[in-house]
Symmetry: C2
Subunit: 330 residues, 2 copies
DNA sequence: CTGTTAGCGCTTTCAC
DNA sequence: GTGAAAGCGCTAACAG
């Protein structure tokens, strides 16, 4: 149904290959006929077939992105930025959901393999290295976000960031500081918690296991964990959360219990998503340089896909953004 | 680099076409050799090339999705549900961002045209009908979400939903009810506002233009608009917002001004996104049946792509979810 | 500068 | 039941 190059060639009275060259602005074709063919193609409503081109060139100009859940604002922000940079480089995005299960994650990758994307970008992956290298051996490189131990990855210094958050609270005079984590499968969770623990130890504080718990990376998890903390004989005076969603849930639970943030309990989030600065109280959070992350990820994918030397594994620093959800311990 | 059908055929000592048939479970090939070929293909790590198949069959099993911004939780929830249903039907998703500009939207569609997706699904489109029908004439059907006047579309009854929200507030005794809209380009905005106006008129209330304003569909817009309302000599006692994000911003502004929700001002949102029930106070909102929407959209796209009769244009009802952000007017 | 031709990996008649 | 061969729409040598 759509117009093909052959149609254009016939209409222009030239060979198919000339059209192909003209349309790719090949200088080897006469500038006049080149312009004429381009004009004709436009008039005829010619739309190049990316799949035919892909078959011939072995490049699809499509990038696969596998996310746990696009509803997570942090992942959504990342995907949007990835899309922006990808568009600039001429790539389209194939989005695939993995849930949390490793099996679904493999399935998602397999679909992208079939679609012959030029590279795959995965935030928060938990697939095995062996599977990844098998995929890569087929000429489909994989770039990981937030997963150390993989050569092609970009991540932030989660340990350092976790430490930064805890230090901030310690500096405000807090001594009973809780940590509400994500899920066990989220690899960054351990690092953020380690950073938190390291900060306490540096200040000569012991880490109280009763003040460390596991949420689920979503608001309801934060809410439920906070409710439990509030039942304690000595509830924490400050809480560091795995991410902003968790923090929102925690704040909701605190307020629902009739307490105030930050007067009664201080809260620190992670990711600095857009809502963080707008809800009341504005949330103190650790910002990740998502823009840089997305940019580097796409560029690394691009380099890998074109066989150019890829930048080495990059670790970005986190940045503490102090807002009104934290205050001195009363 | 990847294993091809030809490789498998050679290894199995049969013709290429037999492999093709065996792999698609064609009953015309001997059940024993069929199983053997499938086993061999698996062992050899064969991954079918979707683009080669697409070229041959003229179906890519890819669906294009054009969103304004995936960071919008409502759109993200929709996309996730679309992906779930699409996966069940064997489709992959190509995601493309449109920003708000119609030009970018056309560009996004053009990329999907090149990729030869089987159909396009667009929430909140503002492209012209003529462009859409041109795309459709190439055998690439388009399904619209939340845009009336297009034959292949699914939407909720925005007028009715807007009326429902306003009635709820009127029933609580409110008389000064404001409306914070989205942007002008969001087509649902007008309908929601009409519903709001209709409710007031039905109850013999006049619509006060000073209480109607335009946000931007994001939290900061809601915050800024609410700040303006609070400067009024007689601020509203209740606010109906275009969507939940706008409502969150409005609530933030109210609380930042030292007032309380709902004791001083009631707030109603729209979309009932996940966060709505978790933040404090839990938000009264109009829920859309996103699951049904996504399901119908994918099925309509599928039907259109396969030339089967598509279900007629569907209008789903909205549903008022009353939570703690609304209360009787004091 | 332009035309001819051989694939890219797969599906699908058409023969046998 | 299986094989041979044409073709999907394009790119990229290879000739001229």
């Amino acid at each position: 149904m759509p117009v093909t190059m052959d149609d254009v060639a016939r209409a222009a009275g030239v060979a198919l290959s000339t059209v192909s060259r003209a349309l790719s602005d090949n200088p080897r074709v006469n500038v006049a006929t080149r312009a004429q063919i381009q004009k004709l193609a436009r008039e005829m409503g010619y739309v190049p077939s990316a799949i035919a081109r892909g078959l011939a060139t072995k490049r699809t100009y499509a990038l696969g992105v596998v996310v746990h859940d696009i509803v997570d604002p942090f992942q959504a922000e990342l995907v949007r930025l990835i899309d922006m940079r990808a568009l600039e480089l001429g790539y389209s995005l194939l989005l695939s959901h993995s849930g949390d299960e490793e099996q679904r994650e493999q399935q998602a990758i397999n679909i992208l393999r079939q679609q012959r994307v030029d590279a795959i970008i995965m935030p928060d992956s938990s697939v095995s290295d062996s599977f990844l290298s098998q995929v890569a051996s087929e000429g489909m490189p994989v770039v990981l976000l937030n997963r150390m131990s993989y050569p092609y990855s970009i991540e932030i210094d989660n340990v350092g960031a976790g430490e930064m958050a805890a230090i901030h609270l310690l500096d405000l005079g807090h001594r009973r500081i809780a940590y509400i984590g994500g899920t066990r499968t989220q690899p960054e969770n351990d690092d953020r918690q380690s950073g938190y623990a390291r900060a306490l130890e540096k200040r000569g504080q012991s880490v109280d296991p009763a003040l460390i718990t596991l949420g689920n990376g979503w608001s309801d998890g934060g809410r439920d964990c906070m409710r439990e903390f509030l039942k304690l004989a000595h509830p924490p005076t400050a809480v560091f959360c795995y991410n902003d969603l968790t923090a929102f849930g925690a704040i909701g639970a605190i307020q629902a219990a009739g307490l105030r943030v930050p007067q009664d309990i201080s809260v620190v989030g992670f990711d600095d998503i857009a809502l963080a600065s707008i809800l009341h109280p504005p949330l103190t959070s650790i910002a990740q340089d998502k823009e840089q992350m997305a940019k580097l990820a796409v560029e690394m994918a691009h380099a890998l896909a074109t066989g150019k030397p890829a930048a080495p594994r990059t670790i970005l620093p986190g940045r503490l953004v102090v807002r009104a959800s934290t205050a001195a311990c009363s």
